[in-house]
Symmetry: C2
Subunit: 426 residues, 2 copies
């Protein structure tokens, strides 16, 4: 694998990959090979190379699959630090008129060819970073004795109304694709203590923004015997851990993306905390026309996060703009013990979380106020009927986190095959 | 956490959990506490215990949430090896008339209360083992430089016809819930080399058996430059690794399930391999009325696996009973380079996989023969048009693997919230 070339300096090795690009400079030919783990430049000097091989290197086309033999050389000017002196080349599968050339293409053109677009170095780097982030999250929870408890995708529950839900016909019954696994994770937390779920969630939103997908991945943690403050601590440790893992293990990918790494290195623990009420004051002082009780949009989130180098928690939102299951702050009942984490550099909300309402009657009351079907929520209220405990949790959106860490303008690049309002193929 | 009690012998600690059960034996009271990580027995001798505390221990009800203080003692007769001498008890949340008592309940009664049923030691052990298996799988692939590339759930593709697919209305377009992410993983493998996807998949089957769920989890690996034999090797290493992890880290849970551990310890590498044609002969010799060309059902799978202590690969199936993308065996074109892995002890197929058809024209031909919409598969055939390579992969069903390793009779216990033909709640 190209990523392990450093272990084979001055040895002859074989790479199985694809031709990303080639160049010719008089009597030297360069073939740039990718194998999915990275890319490397192979060099052939005409005088020192078998004429047939030199000829073949001139003919092989972009994205042909090739086996390349060669000696690994240290080359400080190469992005990876290594280069290959080519001794052999074999074409496995040809490639004629590969549609994505090295010139600039429009976004729709590329999106229609997402199955090929992902072969390019930028997309491949993003997907490798995404993979590292997902493994980092799982390692984080595993090391802390969380149990992975997968929540169901098909559900009869509509925790926030049915408007934004994809509906399916479940053998004659109406069912929905889950927008969250949280309510189920509250049940598994009462069984297993500390749990998380990590899977796809769905929102049938009509909106088309740089931050929205209709299908995206979310990790949600839920902890029994955990209060609001302890919950924030787990969140900031998780986000910090993710950043350190990527900085440590995806340096080349970050370079490929031309990411300003200093911005990621500037993130430190603990993350700043700001109450909603304080946040409103900051917005108003900045001249924003924003009233207490309103919800933040992207411009407000950007404005707030611009004050900090690390992500910032905004906590204790008005109860009216938050979900029915949030616990009111005992010292100020118009706000709830919930917090959003806003990523730095204007990337907006990446986490929503808080302490859950753990008393039976107030919860039943809220379900009524929200006009939710009481019967469907009977099992959920059971969790407050039998051995209720203070508990808290949060959900982190994967694509927004990937977009932030990679420095992407649009979330569609943060997932292998994005599902957007008018985009279901490939 | 109860699972870490061994680190605190003779120290006073506090457990935050729930009352699983209590017993009284004259002047001694026992409270069995669970906290999600395990359970432990707390002991109170009347003479040595504060009378108020002793009284409270008699009153606390099943599944009340409690904080228990006490000294950790080694106790060889306890399943975990430890016991607690109780010095304090506090009820956090009460629990009246908890519906699942310690007597036997019917399966429907329990399934209706799945949110509570999972609190019992048997279900909790299964879910902890499931969590360990899922992390083991991810660690296995991570250690081998696979990239996790999540495949989409909502898709316009119907790789095996639309009969068994859940349909959704995607803003006016017909779409389906994916039954497999394989075709997408073939695309990501051409971009990233070695990939896997791991998520929920869906089959709208009308069948109601011990082995079927309508929503289940599957991990699918796909490897560029990988042939049929190399693919089998990855599969058997993965399954062996999973078993070793569970044997090493979930011994107490396996004991709770009364699993015959010797059967798991008997699994060794390499796994036996049996061609379909050989398998048919074994079945016929056993008196089964089975003809070459038929597909195996559960009884045949059980009969075959009974010959081995390890899981067994059955390979080179008739092309007619396998998917359109399988590569024909060059030395016998009526069979394909596919293999199923049958778990031992009659647990049936847990893996299906094989080498993929990597030539453009034969693949187009097969798509036509299967009456699949060519246009929808245009991006998939592109993978053979631009730098095609020999590639192989496989998919492992999580719930069947959990059921086998845990020794479960029915797959419904292998997932937190099973979705079956008439079961969508809770």
């Amino acid at each position: 694998m190209i990523k392990h070339l450093g272990k084979h300096v001055n040895q002859e090795i074989q790479i199985e990959g694809w031709l990303f690009n080639k160049r010719s400079s008089g009597k030297i030919r360069f073939v740039i090979v990718r194998d999915g783990s990275g890319q490397v430049q192979g060099v052939m000097a005409k005088q020192e190379t078998d004429p047939e091989l030199f000829e073949l290197a001139g003919e092989v086309t972009q994205e042909s699959s090739i086996r390349v033999r060669g000696f690994v050389r240290e080359e400080p000017r190469a992005p990876s630090g290594y280069e290959l002196t080519v001794t052999g080349l074999e074409v496995v599968g040809g490639s004629e008129d590969y549609p994505i050339t090295l010139k600039k293409h429009g976004v729709d053109f590329l999106a229609d060819r997402r199955h090929l677009w992902i072969r390019g170095p930028r997309q491949a780097s993003i997907l490798r970073i995404r993979s590292e982030i997902e493994q980092a999250i799982r390692d984080f929870f595993y090391q802390r004795d969380f149990i992975l408890a997968d929540s169901p995708i098909i559900t009869s529950l509509a925790a926030e109304g049915t408007t934004n839900l994809f509906e399916i016909d479940y053998h004659g019954e109406k069912a929905y694709l889950a927008q969250t696994g949280q309510l189920y994770s509250e049940a598994t937390a009462m069984a297993l203590g500390r749990v998380y779920n990590f899977g796809p969630v769905f929102r049938a939103e009509k909106s088309k923004t740089r931050r929205h997908l209709l299908e995206f991945w979310m990790v949600e943690a839920e902890m029994a015997y955990c209060d609001f403050e302890q919950n924030l601590k787990v969140q900031e440790e998780l986000v910090y851990y993710i950043i350190q893992r990527v900085l440590e293990r995806n340096r080349l990918d970050l370079n490929t993306l031309k990411r300003d790494i200093s911005k990621l290195e500037a993130v430190t623990l603990p993350f700043p905390r700001l109450s909603y009420t304080e946040a409103v004051k900051i917005l108003q002082d900045s001249g924003e026309d924003f009233q207490w009780g309103e919800d933040f949009g992207a411009p407000q989130e950007t404005l707030l996060s611009d004050h900090y180098e690390s992500p910032v928690f905004v906590h204790r939102f008005p109860a009216d703009i938050k979900a029915f299951y949030m616990k009111p702050d005992p010292s100020e009942s118009r706000v709830v013990l919930g917090a959003d984490l806003l990523a730095s550099e204007g990337y907006g909300e990446i986490i929503g979380g808080g302490q859950r309402l753990d008393e039976l009657e107030p919860l039943q009351q809220r379900i009524k106020e929200h006009n939710l079907p009481e019967e469907e929520f009977a099992w959920y209220t059971d969790l407050r009927r039998y051995g209720s405990v203070p508990h808290s949790g949060f959900g982190l959106g994967i694509e927004r986190t990937v977009a932030w860490i990679c420095g992407l303008e649009h979330i569609r690049e943060a997932i292998p095959f994005p599902r957007m309002l008018y985009r279901i193929r490939p």
